[in-house]
């Protein structure tokens, strides 16, 4: 069950947009960070079930943050949100061990789809133990 969601994006508007795409009735606990460094700190404090990450950020960019988080928690479920989905960028992202990619500008239905897939993945992992 997804209870806690961490949103890492330097654009307050992007964070607002993502929040509005999340279903309100699931009682998710949300946490936000405005750059890669803050994102890592919050990850350790908050221990989210799911993390949304923007790729282009100041201080520490998305790729570096993803690396750092996966080193801390190899089971971290990270969804990258980006507008640039070129093949080259995508292969880099996939190799970084990201769970899925959310294309900007985001739409509620795609966010829902991702949530469903993450729930399924968590169930699978729980069942597997």
């Amino acid at each position: 069950m997804i209870k806690k969601i961490l949103i890492i994006d330097d654009s307050p508007i992007a964070r607002k947009m993502l929040k509005s795409c999340l279903p309100k009735d699931k009682g998710y606990e949300l946490c936000e960070a405005a750059d890669g460094e803050e994102g890592i700190r919050k990850y350790l404090e908050f221990v989210p079930d799911l993390t949304f990450m923007d790729l282009t950020m100041p201080k520490l960019d998305g790729y570096q943050a993803i690396d750092a988080i996966r080193k801390l928690d190899k089971d971290a479920i990270i969804v990258v949100s980006t507008a640039d989905i070129q093949r080259e960028s995508m292969s880099r992202v996939i190799n970084a061990g990201v769970f899925s990619v959310l294309r900007k500008p985001m739409k509620s239905k795609f966010v829902q789809e991702i949530l469903i897939r993450v729930e399924a993945e968590k169930k699978k992992r729980a069942g597997g133990e």
Binding site: S11, I13, A14, M17, S20, T56, A83, D84, S89, K104
Partner: protein, 214 residues
């Protein structure tokens, strides 16, 4: 001078504009790869509001390289969203692009290089400017019409009269991105100018955009 413009956009409006530009330029990058078959990377756009009179010195400062060593492609567009797009490339870029775009142009070996280069620059400028402006329009649910692109030579006259063509009583919003072609090592600058007239419409359009995310 700059103070009057503080009130053109509120902080929140600036943030929305920034995010829209991020999305527009990011997805333009993505689609460009398919269209021109070359991987292009557009940097996160930097947005400034300037007095039209400050534009020349701003351009010179941002272009880093001196006027003589650059090629400039300019294009106008009109509609709800009105303005100009300018592409600034180092002089050698034209030639490198010819070899990379590698097509029937190569058959035109008898055509002087200068002519081919010019055409390639205009074509690339047309596509890049169209990609960025096009994506912004898509996000803001509008469309624009474009004039043919033109190459502005570094001969003082053309450049000056181009700059003078902006209405001095107005302010301009400049959105600047650095783009890199991966296959060929070319870095350049892309500017999109729009003036005060478009700002009222832009403000409304920004709020419309956010409506679905409230």
């Amino acid at each position: 001078m700059g103070d009057e413009h503080e009130y053109i956009f509120s902080d929140e409006e600036k943030d929305i504009l920034q995010e829209i530009m991020n999305i527009a330029f990011g997805s333009a990058s993505a689609d460009l790869g398919d269209v021109i078959d070359i991987y292009v990377e557009l940097s996160t756009p930097d947005i400034q509001v300037l007095d039209v009179g400050d534009i020349p010195s701003y351009l010179i400062e941002r272009m880093h390289f001196r006027q003589k060593e650059t090629s400039i492609v300019a294009q106008n567009f009109w509609g709800d969203f009105k303005g100009s797009g300018i592409l600034v490339l180092p002089n050698k870029a034209g030639r490198n692009l010819i070899t990379v775009l590698d097509d029937d142009q190569a058959g035109l070996d008898t055509e002087p290089i200068a002519g081919q280069e010019r055409e390639v620059l205009m074509e690339v400028g047309n596509i890049l400017i169209g990609a960025c402006v096009g994506k912004v329009c898509e996000l803001l649910e509008t469309f624009v019409t474009y004039t043919p692109p033109r190459v502005i030579h570094d001969s003082g006259n053309e450049y000056d009269s181009f700059v003078k063509s902006f209405d001095p009583s107005q302010a301009a919003i400049i959105m600047e991105t650095v783009f890199k072609f991966q296959k060929v090592d070319i870095n350049g600058l892309l500017f999109i100018f729009t003036n005060q007239e478009a700002i009222e419409w832009l403000r409304k359009a920004l709020h419309n955009f956010m409506e679905s995310y409230e």
